[in-house]
């Protein structure tokens, strides 16, 4: 073989040729890189490298294809692409609303919600210590009047019991993980949460029925009248002994409570139903459209998932608010006021209590009875 006989000198010579060749190739390569880079407008390798390190910006920034970055921006905004699977909604690659949901639900909603509930209980305890139980000033009489018939009481308790169940099982969804898990362990808490969810989902319908019933039977007693202003100005006589502003069947405070329950209750029910049947309604887009007619500029193009996020946040915020309102309502209807519970218990209230708190209503009842008795007498004669 000729190779094997080559002298050391020729080998050296060969090495020099290789070195020269390599230098030429290296220079050519450099030129090629330089040329490619000056043709592409993206700049140097170093720039590409720094871009690669910046994980915030999207991939595919172009070589003279400017629509690329627009495309990725659209994806970031949540525009939908195509998928070959059945669920076409899944064409959305990324959605940002979840961050808002997380921040709110685990942040202000969680802490302010807890503060509000603890706050209202503290406030009522303070009120109880200062004012004590509101007594019947003129003492108990022997006579009672029927305040709520059995159907009214049924409707009230349907609403009330379902509200308590929904409130507890709902609050459990927010606070249970933090309050109960340490006490009962993860596994038992899972069972509790599951039971709570089932209760919440089914009892919801009882709540809606209760809401409709009280609306029908009590709406006629709840339109504002001139006595309400006096009642409100006197604070309902709640803060001073012996003050009893006149009222019909419902006083101004009760009317406010009624409308709060109807409006907030309906809002809770609507958002709840949208949580129960996800992605079926455009509750918020529709509501925003109506609000926008008053000159606001709220978004009316909401994606399905944004609707769900808003429903969840709204449902819990309004619920927590109503829980606070109802805690106060329960207080005044039980320990807070002597004789009040009977109205919804037996339906029969003490006449003196009725005269103090619903004077006009009692007058009306009495004149009705007198008229009845009179007509009976006429008939008998």
């Amino acid at each position: 073989m000729p190779r094997s006989t080559t002298s050391v000198a020729t080998m050296k010579n060969n090495t020099a040729t290789y070195a020269r060749k390599a230098t030429v190739i290296f220079l050519l390569a450099l030129m090629a890189i330089f040329l490619t880079n000056s043709f592409s407008q993206t700049g140097s390798l170093a720039q590409a490298q720094t871009q690669a390190q910046n994980s915030q910006s999207p991939v595919g920034a172009p070589l003279g294809n400017s629509s690329d970055s627009d495309m990725w921006r659209a994806v970031k905004r949540g525009d939908r692409g195509n998928v070959s699977i059945i669920d076409k909604k899944s064409g959305v690659l990324i959605q940002s609303g979840g961050q808002f949901l997380r921040d709110l639900r685990n942040g202000p909603m969680f802490s302010y919600g807890a503060a509000a509930i603890i706050g209202i209980i503290a406030l009522l305890s303070l009120f109880y210590m200062l004012r004590g139980r509101i007594r019947i000033d003129s003492g108990k009489s022997d006579v009672t009047v029927t305040r709520f018939n059995s159907f009214e009481r049924f409707s009230h308790w349907l609403l009330a019991i379902s509200f308590v169940i929904l409130g507890l099982s709902g609050l459990n969804m927010i606070y249970g993980k933090f309050l109960l898990t340490p006490l009962v362990g993860k596994s038992s808490y899972g069972d509790i949460a599951m039971a709570g969810k089932w209760l919440h989902n089914f009892v919801a319908f009882a709540f809606i029925l209760g809401l409709v019933l009280i609306l029908i039977i009590w709406i006629r007693h709840n339109f504002p009248n001139r006595h309400d202003i006096v009642w409100l100005l006197k604070g309902g006589g709640m803060f001073t002994r012996g003050t009893h502003p006149p009222a019909k069947k419902f006083n101004a405070g009760q009317k406010i409570l009624f409308w709060l329950i109807i409006l907030a209750g309906a809002s809770i029910a609507l958002s709840g139903v949208s949580l129960l049947f996800p992605f079926q309604f455009s509750l918020f887009a529709d509501t925003f459209e109506i609000i926008n007619r008053l000159g606001f500029n709220l978004p009316t193009e909401l994606t399905g998932i944004e609707e769900m996020q808003l429903s969840l946040v709204w449902h819990s915020v309004v619920s927590i608010f109503m829980v606070c309102v109802i805690i106060a309502h329960i207080y005044i209807g039980s320990v807070g006021m002597e004789g009040a519970f009977d109205a919804m218990g037996s339906g029969e209230v003490d006449k003196n209590w009725a005269k103090e708190h619903h004077s006009i209503w009692v007058d009306e009842l009495e004149s009705k009875e007198r008229a009845k008795a009179a007509s009976k007498q006429v008939a008998a004669e």
Partner: protein
């Protein structure tokens, strides 16, 4: 310690859906549920791109934060797993997830969404490793067998990478340098903020 991540290279994905099929088969995912999907942007237009997406196993996972039960948890190597025994099917994780990863056997049938299902990085669930119960609920536990997720292993163009975040981001960075254009991997800014890679 290794920190497991997915990386989807839009410049390489050819929308063959092999990853989707591999995932369904390997994990025997129930009918109608897709743990992984391929999304095509500008389909049929110039500049069309596809991305294979599933749970990204986020570092500070939003799903864990909003779950009202202790269903979802993160393993030492960053894989986000869940317990179907604890899940109550409320759907909150789906509302919070940036990538639409959590799936439900029923979407709106009177609140009974069923237990959440999602990509496990082929790492099963809380049950005993490679047990029958684990397989039935969560699919294969390839991680316990020392293997990577099948979707990425099968990807013919290696558009989908799975593995230690440091390693796959190096591979990707090299690609970007060779291409001479491009930036961070898609979705990484959202899934792994402050990752620095």
């Amino acid at each position: 310690m290794a920190r497991m991540r997915f990386l989807s290279d839009a410049e390489r994905c050819v929308e063959c859906n092999a990853c989707v099929t591999a995932c369904k088969n390997e994990n025997e995912v129930p009918w109608g549920i897709n743990r992984r999907r391929v999304v095509t942007i500008s389909d049929g237009k110039p500049g069309e791109r596809s991305i294979s997406i599933a749970c990204m196993h986020c570092s500070d996972a939003p799903c864990i934060a909003v779950c009202p039960v202790d269903t979802i948890y993160q393993t030492e190597i960053g894989i986000v797993l869940h317990s179907k025994d604890l899940c109550i099917g409320c759907g909150y994780c789906f509302y919070a997830c940036p990538f639409g990863a959590p799936q439900f056997p029923q979407t709106g049938n009177f609140g009974t969404r069923g237990k959440m299902d999602k990509c496990t990085f082929c790492a099963g669930g809380p049950e005993e490793e490679n047990s029958e119960a684990e397989f039935r609920k969560y699919g294969r536990n390839r991680i316990a067998e020392g293997k990577l997720p099948l979707c990425a292993e099968l990807c013919s163009t290696k558009a989908l990478l799975a593995g230690d975040g440091a390693v796959i981001s190096d591979i990707y960075r090299e690609r970007v340098i060779n291409r001479g254009f491009g930036a961070g991997a898609w979705g990484w800014g959202r899934a792994y903020p402050n990752s620095g890679s």
